[in-house]
């Protein structure tokens, strides 16, 4: 049983570009959350998707958007990249109120 898988593992972009990160949840999970983890910090909640809709959102600008597909996979899109967007982006999945499983993340570097 594969856990949460994320792609790509690493990505380098330049300021002003747009990026799309992808996540496949653990089998049987229907809820996907995205977190941003800056170097030396704890993960910060970006948003959560359930039934293809954004259910909750953290304190992130509209440049951060997402999508969930009928097969529960999800994408995180970031427009107009800033240097400060450089971070590890983590996807986490769960079913109901059960345990949250994290993927290994996508390391995004903005130059």
């Amino acid at each position: 049983d594969a856990g949460v898988t994320q792609s790509p593992t690493h990505l380098i972009k330049t300021r002003g570009q747009q990026v799309t990160l992808r996540c496949s949840p653990k089998s049987g999970h229907d809820t996907v959350s995205w977190y941003q983890q800056a170097l030396g910090q704890g993960p910060q909640f970006i948003f959560q998707y359930y039934e293809e809709e954004e259910r909750q959102r953290g304190n992130f600008p509209d440049r951060f958007s997402g999508h969930q597909y009928p097969n529960y996979s999800s994408e995180l899109n970031v427009n107009a990249l800033l240097l400060g967007d450089s971070a590890l982006y983590l996807c986490a999945s769960m079913r109901g109120n059960e345990k949250l499983f994290f993927g290994s993340g996508t390391q995004l570097s903005v130059l």
């Binding site: 949460v4 704890g42 909640f45 909750q56 986490a92 949250l100 499983f101 994290f102 993927g103």
Partner: protein
């Protein structure tokens, strides 16, 4: 405003010793307090969690102590091993109000030396 404050930032413990990491929270609506372990290049993995209706929970070498009146909780790692060297995060959320997202502390980098 940081909702969960974690200390220390880093910790060095001798093999076989006890590692203690502390967290404090402000939001009394929090009702679920997990600890996560993160190795380099990996996502956080749930280690152990506690609800506020108990003061202590033990799983193997890992124990959470919870003080509701002080709004503090701590992780104790007994007989610490080099393989425990990782970054540990405390977190909190409100399960009873629609499952609010996890709020994490800033993390503690633990190094267990032989």
């Amino acid at each position: 405003q940081q909702q969960v404050k974690q200390s220390p930032q880093s910790l060095i413990v001798q093999k076989g010793g006890i590692s203690i990491i502390n967290c404090a929270y402000e939001n009394t609506a929090f009702d679920y307090f997990p600890w996560y372990q993160q190795f380099p290049g990996k996502g956080p993995a749930l280690l152990i969690a506690i609800r506020p209706d108990v003061s202590e929970k033990k799983e193997g070498r890992f124990t959470i102590s919870f003080n509701k009146s002080a709004k503090q909780f701590s992780l104790h790692i007994m007989d610490s091993q080099p393989g425990d060297s990782a970054t540990y995060f405390c977190a909190a959320l409100t399960l009873n109000s629609g499952n609010t997202p996890l709020v994490f502390g800033k993390g503690t980098r633990l190094s267990v030396i032989a």
